[in-house]
Subunit: 216 residues, 2 copies
DNA sequence: TCATAAAATTAGGCATGCCTAATACAATAT
DNA sequence: ATATTGTATTAGGCATGCCTAATTTTATGA
């Protein structure tokens, strides 16, 4: 019988994303991201470890090579789905996450390839994250959070590390999207907001938000 | 929490399709179509009845209005998915069933509408079956099986009641697809094959196969 | 070092949906 | 009417993945 891997895929995908922030991923962070209770995650992580997909130490959870490879496949399907949704079906970037989160588990390798081909092998998802190629290779650009720029510095937005639709809609309304040039006008002290200039307009941006926007 | 309706959807979809052949659907027929054991179906049917989606009498299983409405929604998503796969992604008609069978459970009403819109509101799936509209309305053409045509009669293929990829591939290789005109040259006696003429070529077709091809 | 707080796991359950084996129910044919 | 045959259900299990409550482990800070 055909196994349903969607929960496994969901976990691996979350672990992959979270480890980009901080390496061994804590089960509590994972639970929060997956919107599950901690014991559920504890248990599932144990099963994933048993299948050789993750390594679980006192520090937290790491993906094994096999787990990483599977995670990248899921992420490829997720990001290709997002592109299909925006480029072909006309969705906005804030509307695609949940849809893609379901599609990613339903797409065969053939469909994955056909989407990539039909769209001209896109390099990134609508949020600027790289789409792994069929063999799991992906190019990570060297970036830093917008929040780390100093006054008068500017950067080009590479990607936005955010999934919340409301936040994405807000950012789009300010024109804060990949490939856009942002200039930091001022940085308020004591963790205060940044004053940024985008396409001729000025906005005050909280540090929290600015840290999600990665620039080069 | 978000319920996973995919099994319910699968059952309702199967019941809907099977009842087009013979009205109250037997649990054994349903089990066969779903590739499950009979007791699994017995049990699930009981649950569906409990939810008011089917009515279960001695004769077999029937959809309630609510069940029928839900079934048509799933079928709409299935057929729209098939069209997306063939028209946008370049799949062949024999490659789309399984893929669509997974996609149909992952597609939101918004995506469903977007697909329909992007494709110019197609009326049928690649196999010629009608796509219900958003309100569940669908136009069934009056058709008869090709196997019921007499010698020298001709008809235009409306749809093909078949899901098996090998059979579909075979039919496509003979040019037996919706909108194609077929002429029955001869009908061999005693349930023997039909000799048909399609686009200038002659083929012998088994009765079984011919009964799946519906013409007008 | 010892108390307290935070993080993680264990224990015990539950819902869903599948299975096999056994049993009950129908329809036929003798 | 009764034996046979096929259809359907009941009984009893199992796997998966989630939950709450209780407990254990680890970290922190007085
Ligand atoms: Mn997902
Ligand atoms: Mn994305
Ligand atoms: Mn399906
Ligand atoms: Mn079809």
């Amino acid at each position: 019988m055909e196994a349903d891997n969607s929960r496994t895929e969901e976990y691996l995908e979350s672990i992959y994303k979270l480890q980009e922030e901080q390496h061994p991923v804590s089960t509590s962070r994972l639970a929060e991201h997956l919107k599950l209770q901690a014991p559920s995650v504890s248990e599932m992580v144990k099963k994933l470890a048993g299948k050789g997909l993750v390594f679980h130490s006192e520090k937290g959870v790491c993906l094994t090579d096999e787990g990483k490879s599977l995670a990248k496949k899921v992420i490829r399907r997720h990001r290709l789905s997002e592109r299909l949704l925006t480029d072909v079906l006309g969705f906005k970037w804030d509307e695609v996450h949940d849809e893609a989160c379901r599609l990613e588990h339903a797409i065969s390798p053939e469909m994955e390839d056909r989407i990539a081909e039909s769209l001209g092998n896109p390099k990134t998802c609508p949020h600027g994250h790289p789409i792994p190629d069929r063999d799991g290779k992906l190019i990570k650009e060297k970036v830093k959070p917008l929040s780390e720029l100093k006054a008068r510095e500017k950067g080009i937005i590479v990607n936005v590390f955010e999934e919340d639709p409301k936040m994405l809609k807000y950012l789009a309304s300010l024109g804060l999207m990949p490939d856009v040039c942002v200039k930091v006008e001022e940085v308020a002290p004591f963790g205060g907001p940044l004053i940024v200039c985008v396409a001729g307009s000025r906005y005050a941006l909280g540090r929290e938000v600015a840290s999600k926007i990665k620039v080069k």
